[in-house]
């Protein structure tokens, strides 16, 4: 048998062998155990310095305005399981609200971010709006407020 054929055959055997070894018949623990469902467990979180303003930035390509909030430093302790932190920005005058979820898995400091959310061009008329930012923790005890502040929504062209 030529060497290159042997290498290919060896690779195939390795792949199939590994798949079977990790399977129910052999049960070698090659994979990580299935993680807990997100939003379960427990967490204690504090926000020392909640944001005071968020922005509505005109997007490129004329696709409207992106609602963006700054990263929020959060201190986490007593994390167990995979609880969520949620970052909500609401602009009541525009009837718009967006929530981003982040799974947290370890104690320490975390910069909580949000996914920008797009509003259509026609909706935004004023230079600024009143808004609200809320950080929630979601775990076995349900959903509770970690921080909630009024913010200025600054419109940037």
């Amino acid at each position: 048998m030529r060497a290159d054929r042997a290498v290919v055959a060896g690779t195939v055997v390795l792949f199939v062998g590994t798949a079977v070894a990790a399977g129910p018949l052999v049960g070698l623990p090659l994979l990580e155990p299935e993680p807990a469902d997100p939003g379960t467990g427990s967490v204690s979180a504090t926000v020392a310095d909640p944001p005071t303003r968020v922005t509505l930035e005109a997007t490129d390509f004329g696709a409207g305005y992106d609602l963006r909030g700054p990263p929020v430093p959060v201190t986490l302790s007593e994390v167990a399981g995979r609880p969520y932190l949620s970052y909500t920005v609401a602009v009541p005058a525009l009837g718009h609200q967006t929530t981003s979820l982040t799974v947290v898995e370890a104690d320490g400091r975390l910069r909580l971010t949000m996914n920008p959310s797009t509003l259509s061009e026609g909706a935004v008329e004023a230079d600024s709006y009143e808004g609200r930012v809320a950080i929630h923790a979601i775990d076995d005890d349900g959903r509770r407020v970690v921080a909630e502040t009024a913010v200025t929504v600054e419109v940037r062209e």
């Binding site: 690779t11 792949f15 129910p24 992106d66 609200q97 959310s117 797009t118």
Partner: protein, 618 residues
Amino acid sequence: MRGRGRRLARAVVGDRYGAIVLLAAVATYLLCWRVGILITDTYTVANTLVAVADGHLFVDRAVYGTGLRTPGMGLRDGQFYGRNYGQVMLALPVLAALEAVAAVASLRVALAALWGLSIVGLARLVGREAGRPQLGAYAGSGLAIVAFAAAIHGATPIEPAERYLVALQLQTMGAAALVGVFVHRLLTRAYGGTVGVAAGLATALATPVGVWAQFPKRHVLVTLCAVATAYLLYRSREAGGVDTRYRALAYVPVGVAAWVSAAEGAVLLVALLVVDVPTGGRDGRSIAAAGATAVLAALPTVVTNYLVTGNAGEPPRTLSAGGSGSLAERGSTSTRTDGGEPGGASGDAGGGSTDQTAAGDSGGSETLDAVVGGVEFLFELLWRGLRALLREPETLFVTFVRGGYVAGVAERDAGEAIRLTVLEAMPLAAGLVAVPVVAARLDLRARAAAFRRRPWPRPSALRTVDAFAVVYVLALLLVYLPRLPVHASLTVRYLLACYPLAVYGLARLPSVRRVMRERPRLCAATVASALLVGGQLLVLYQWAIDATMGEAVQTHALVGLATAGLLAAWAVADALGWRRDRVGAVALGLAAAAGAAFVLLAGLWHFAFVGPRALPFV
């Protein structure tokens, strides 16, 4: 045993180059694969597969989604029924294979192994073709082993409940790869290996076929049926006469398409009939064989219709009448006061409003009524399309050329401009602007003389396929135009079958074939360097501006349009006699790379909200 396996492989992929196209497509699709649901009516199809695997057509378990009331689910006599039963039935063998593998092995590791094997196979084949078989074997094995280890490191098992969705996604990916293979086989027979391989790879990897490969909707399957029909039609006319066997076989994919979606099958049937009947000759045996095959191919559809709606002529879709599905739930939820209701007014692919004449009274004439109603409905759709075309020609522009932010559409796409036009999604299609120029420069007088001569000679195999492609694309366009542009369509998915046919059209241009034959290396090098350098710059730019999904997609749109402009300029100039093969090779390469960049980044990055990667590399 081995001989039979080989024969089967040969029947599917054709030759070694076909295998290269297949493996390259499969390897890429598996890499980009996310186990999840993009569009809400996939919940319906996935839950239908659960039901069919349980042994019944009505749906009673919502393994996916929060309940059974999902877009596209129909209600009859208090039972829920799904749709796309053909797709579901054809996914059963895949599901059975998955269950068999899962019984002895870890499914996640087996998927990683499948991907590794596709890399090894690809490397071996390419190595052999390049005259370096040993290098191919060593490099392929090495790369595959490293990637395999990376893929299973830290991965978690696949939940048994996910298997139905995994089966559907694997089925669609296989079908998408076969779309490339059939384009390759058709064009290899017509123009030789270089053109064939390039066209096959371009179809599978640089058009939206690659984007939709992992999303188990009807489009990829229907596209495969259309391309297979074109291939079989070509084979039937290849030898100058009409080959009865292939002519009859051409009706099989039509039946499959109808089983997946009745309206799509009807459009395909119309296109095939319009071309096949006038050009197929008057041999009674041949006509009988084709007719009998068509009837047999329609049988699964008819039986399913009868069992689901109680009327053989009414497809399952008539039960739900609407529900085109919106983008599935994303990681972040946006709510807005004027928020769009998912599903709703614009029903999905035709069939939606076939007159339901008091179902459930008498037997035979009901079926006939429904069939006649369906035919009538199809013609009404075509007529509506024509009217839309004449009244709102600007729809063509936002569907084919430049879309950007279309308020009414984006509102229902979570407020983002995540929609590409045909040209933005497949810049290669820009080459087709040269078709009128090429046609005009042909010797018209000789043509006219030939036209006056009677009897007309039988059209060549390629002209037959040309006619089929034109009729099919036009019919598809007329049927869907009144509803375009539409949300949750990303790359004009309703017209997905047009993309491989556009590749076919490109290969029909003498200039493109000449460049592919004279400058294949330059073209390939352009694709590779544009992807490696340009692709990374694109990623860097989008990362730097922290692009929203809409901005990211629109960046692709503009890059695509730029390359499309270059290609169009070259194609027209070449048709007018300005020969610059190098420019052509670069223009084709850039356009292909722009299309491929979207295929790759869409799966790897932009549509991350769909779900976790099937092969979670760190």
